[in-house]
Subunit: 139 residues, 4 copies
């Protein structure tokens, strides 16, 4: 296993064309946790002007995977996750905070809270997720 | 409840800026089912050249919601869903096929199978999802 | 909506024959949270001597529902949930702690952490769950 | 990997004390699929006389695991699953039908449909589930 630094995590994110298309950045990484942020813009919305659920599920998927990368290393595969939407997501910035709740050698179970922050950085919960990430390395 | 036609479903999809960014189209809609397709292109991939999990989760989210729209009408809110990835998603086209397994007046439970098709339209399963969609109308 | 007291919650639990069969008790109830406990006994195990996953999923289901009952009232229906097992569940007591993460009038989204406690009440996480509970009343 | 016969699967079920407490039996096993049945009785109900959700989640958990056992062998660990309830479960018999949707060497993704059958064996869907089962053997 290679321990990933914040710098390396940013490089992985930068090498994901879809993350560039969405406009995601990593703002925290390490010790079983990762934070992914996306600035809200019109291109990311659904028909009512809120962030599309698919943007939230993208952010959950990626934040879960990066959080697991802090314990499993760079070679990981996301097995799957569950997401519940709790409120339409408006605001200025989407913030996905993921934290590993348990890790073994082969897999990690991770949770993610998704918030939207307004101009004053006041946050409102908009979705919660939990999922499983597998090590891609032989065990 | 307004019964949605295929034409109206396309208009809803066209009014979602994020679906335009991803490049999604509806190819089937009606009778408790919906099919959403996305052409694979480099912008939608992760660091290993496969479709990003976030594209699959977007497609699952949206296909589930449209399938529920065939029974609940246009005013729906996706409550949440679970997705399991079964294989890296390459190929030429992502096809998300969703079907309602049960609908009441207030909510529908929906499943979705996600395939990638190659140049000969041979399909391989890449993920499965199931979720709940709520009617946004008072009951 | 009827606000449920701890005493009324115990009465609801006592009126569930399956909870009596499993041997569950409520130890905390109120303010968006509920704790359900089950003493480990041989009848609740699987073939390797650990608690059966079905006991954990029962405890998650019921703790999620009771936690939602603190915000939605007694007339609730569990819509569904997702559970991830993180470790074989041994020990002396199963403790399912559920807390509402968001509630509206129609539904609540709830999370649950499941621990096993040994003779010294030292706890180990064995599973995590999250789910949705619906109000059974017209809205 | 040991290929499991129907007889061996029954022996595994018989060695689960909790399955005996619930009263479960295997009625089909093989080729990526398993069917688990439970006769409805008062001890398995909740406060309104329907099967407790915990009985359905037990049946989903166990049916998913047995179905995966047909492809992964006897040494399996259920990673987790998601269940959506679609209708109160009455009737005479609970029938959980699980089928593997994809299997690798390390894990299988499995779906389960849960029905209740009345005296004439007419079936009604009461819940759907999907989950992941891991091989417990080194890969």
């Amino acid at each position: 296993m290679t321990e990933l630094s914040f710098h390396m995590a940013q490089q992985v994110l930068d090498s994901q064309p879809f993350s560039a298309l969405v406009g995601a950045r990593i703002t925290e990484f390490g010790d079983g946790a990762a934070v992914l942020e996306v600035d809200v813009r019109e291109e990311l919305t659904q028909q009512n002007g809120f962030l599309h659920g698919g943007v939230l599920s993208y952010a959950a998927d990626n934040a879960l995977t990066f959080a697991a990368g802090t314990t499993l290393g760079a070679a990981v595969l996301t097995g799957g996750f569950s997401i519940q939407y709790v409120r339409p997501a408006g605001g200025r910035t989407l913030i996905a905070r993921a934290a590993v709740v348990h890790t073994g050698r082969r897999q990690a179970v991770v949770r993610c809270d998704l918030y939207t922050a307004d101009d004053e950085r006041a946050e409102r919960l908009c979705a919660v997720a939990q999922g499983t990430v597998l090590s891609a390395l032989p065990t």
